[in-house]
């Protein structure tokens, strides 16, 4: 196994080696790549944010005024490519439009701002965690400094100011500035500054401190720290003072010169923000604010570092387990859905089968009914036929009897007739009854019942005569 013996010895060089050019090499690489710097401006509408940006960067970024009637606070980022000598700067100015304008200044004032800052951190984190990433040409959109504009009331900070700055101080470097400082007199300004700083301290607001660890800039930075918050005046108009054209604001009572240090702290702000500490602001954002965000975000998601004696690289293991969990869940869901689908199919199939069976049954049933009906009808028809036959037979019999009885009545008294009738009846009647009891025979003759109701009618009606009337003795 490789043996690493690391002794750090301080050696003196025997001659010029040449690595003192290293900073130059590094810097020239950065110059080729370019720099990003992102400023967030927070302050009430009309307090002078755009004018100050224009003044700081010697150019006109904004052409129109913002409206006071925004329905909510929204963040408006704009990116500009600035070039000075061989340095390319990608400057992004983010404006919190509508801040302080709402009637109800609840947390909806601050949360869009916090959200925006977090989103930039999140984007960077996402890039950093990608498998194939390109961090070295990533356009850094993280906010490097937040200029908080304080209204020059001369009294103290507003509660909105304190609430906002407290929420932002762990996420971004805050530099508070007093805007429109030409509305306060020198003495009032001095008192105002002291009041503001003490309020910030007593409320635990951490504003950005210019770094004093590097001897080169320690002195100037500590002097500047004492002048916070900077009272600034912005102007893009030029006024002739003496024989020079300077940026200033012209009043009837005098001219406020932007770059005159006894008039306002604009020059100090520019020095600190751009010419001395721009790199430190970027570094603090990356090493402090971003790292804090990253740590919180990863812990939130359930990752944790290992304790010294357990397995190394637990982040990977946690990723792996989470991945397995996630895939497992997806698989389970897929299975469930598939099961559900299969079941549904089975159900529907069963239903259809059932319906088919029912239909079939119905059909059979109907068929049977139909056959039954047919049979019944057949039977009835037969009966009817039989009846018809029987009727016809009787009819024939009656007709024959009738013709016989008619012959008898036309020739002789009834006796002969009777005999004839008897004979004919006898011949008609197959029962074989003797001649003597002709009356009885006649009454017993199988004849149709009388249709007529009365005796009179019966006599009249020929057909009824031979019918089964109640014959009495002595009748004839």
């Amino acid at each position: 196994s490789p043996c690493q013996n690391e002794e750090k010895r301080n050696l003196s060089l025997g001659g010029h080696v040449g690595f003192d050019s290293l900073p130059d090499q590094l810097v020239s690489k950065s110059v080729t790549q370019g720099f990003s710097f992102n400023i967030l401006c927070v302050g009430e509408t009309g307090i002078g944010k755009s004018t100050l940006m224009n003044t700081l960067f010697n150019t006109t970024f904004e052409t129109e005024e913002a409206s006071h009637y925004e329905s909510a606070v929204r963040l408006r980022p704009r990116t500009y490519d600035l070039q000075e000598s061989n340095v390319h700067l990608k400057l992004t100015i983010v404006d919190a439009v509508g801040f302080g304008d709402q009637i109800n200044k609840d947390e909806r004032q601050v949360s869009p701002i916090v959200e925006y800052i977090d989103t930039q951190f999140e984007n960077y984190l996402q890039e950093e965690l990608k498998i194939r990433r390109s961090l070295f040409n990533y356009h850094d959109t993280r906010i490097h400094v937040c200029l908080y504009f304080i209204t020059p009331t001369g009294h103290s900070l507003k509660s909105l100011d304190l609430v906002t700055m407290k929420k932002l101080d762990s996420k971004v470097n805050i530099i508070p500035i007093i805007a429109k400082a030409d509305t306060i007199s020198k003495s009032e300004l001095h008192k105002f500054k002291i009041k503001i700083m003490s309020e910030l301290v007593s409320n635990g607001v951490q504003i950005y401190q210019f770094p004093t660890d590097d001897e080169a800039v320690a002195e100037i930075n500590s002097v500047m720290n004492a002048h916070l918050p900077f009272a600034v005046v912005g102007s893009t108009e030029e006024v002739k003072v003496g024989n020079k054209l300077v940026r200033a604001r012209q009043y009837p009572w005098g001219v406020v010169q932007v770059e005159n240090e006894s008039h306002c702290d604009f020059v100090k702000l520019r020095e600190m923000l751009i010419r001395v500490n721009m790199e430190d602001l970027r570094e603090q954002t990356h090493t402090r604010h971003y790292e804090l965000y990253r740590r919180c975000k990863l812990e939130e998601m359930g990752f944790k570092d290992t304790d010294p004696d357990s397995q190394p690289f637990s982040l990977q293991e946690t990723y792996e387990t989470k991945r397995k969990e996630f895939l497992g869940e997806l698989q389970k869901k897929e299975e469930e859905m598939r099961q559900m689908f299969v079941n549904k199919v089975k159900e529907t199939e069963a239903e259809l089968k059932e319906k088919e069976r029912e239909l079939h049954e119905k059909f059979e049933h109907l068929k049977r009914i139909h056959q039954e009906e047919k049979r019944k009808v057949e039977e009835k028809r037969r009966e009817l036929e039989e009846e018809m036959n029987a009727f016809n037979r009787r009819k024939v019999a009656v007709e024959t009897l009738q013709s016989q009885s008619l012959q008898a009545t036309s020739q002789q008294p009834l006796k002969k007739d009777k005999d004839k009738k008897n004979r004919s009846v006898i011949t008609g009647n197959q029962s074989g009854v003797s001649l003597s009891s002709s009356k009885v025979m006649i009454t017993k003759a199988n004849v149709e019942p009388l249709n007529c109701n009365s005796w009179w009618h019966a006599i009249q009606c020929c057909s009824c005569l031979v019918k089964n009337a109640t014959w009495r003795e002595g009748f004839v």
Partner: protein, 350 residues
Amino acid sequence: PHAGPVESKNEAAMSELVPEPRQKPVVPMKPVGINANLLGYIGIDTIIEQMRKKTMKTGFDFNIMVVGQSGLGKSTLVNTLFKSQVSRKSSGWNREEKIPKTVEIKAIGHVIEEGGVKMKLTVIDTPGFGDQINNENCWEPIEKYINEQYEKFLKEEVNIARKKRIPDTRVHCCLYFISPTGHSLRPLDLEFMKHLSKVVNIIPVIAKADTMTLEEKTEFKQRVRKELEVNGIEFYPQKEFDEDLEDKTENDKIRQESMPFAVVGSDKEYQVNGKRVLGRKTPWGIIEVENLTHCEFALLRDFVIRTHLQDLKEVTHNIHYETYRAKRLNDNGGLPPMTVETEENHESNL
């Protein structure tokens, strides 16, 4: 104008200077170019000075590995490069020490300062390389060491609570010493460089160049270059990483004419023409190490230290390390909560 593909819609929205009210904060728009020289000095260019000051304060790390058979002058060369006794031989090891049976990796760190710039220099020596009878796979311990340094860095980077400055032990540059046979590269040379040019910046160097005449030198260099090309070995500066035309032309010249550098090392000084120079004394003359007509040491030194040191580090960090990281994370199953693509694919399947 909404019928087009998504990208053009975003571009159109981004190029507007005055955007319509948007509910969500969006990615900053495409930058508008402004030449700030117009209205007076702002001071943006001071950022160079600010950055330079910061880097000087934090200092630099540089890790250089030397690989080659024993006796080729590796330690001497490294001492000559950094004008001090940085090699393993000088920090307590016995010259008569036995050649190890396997390849060993020995790293020694020094802090050197010049012109206010502090550098933590680590020289990684590989005694035993190519010295066995059977040298099969003798590059494996070296590859393993290099990957271990990447692994160490990755682990630090992936921590929740990270250090402000992750200590960088990754090998930024590997000087490979070619024996000045005058014929061609040896199979071992080819094998080593083939395997390792994919994980580290390799700078091939012809050792003990004072054994060849000028013509032999030129011929040998040509042959070596040809062989490297034929075998597809990309040594530093790799063609594919040239950033722009300027880089390309500059590096082409180095790749096709100067490299591999034929060097001579020495830590002894002699008097030549009234000057004290580093050199080797022979019966037939003094070979001046820093004389460009004698050998190419000065070229190597300028190349590695004075012009391309930062680039060596950046290629190691942005390319070799990233390749290692990507491979490592892929092998481990990737990072599901972060890559949204996996989730979306699954959803569409469901």
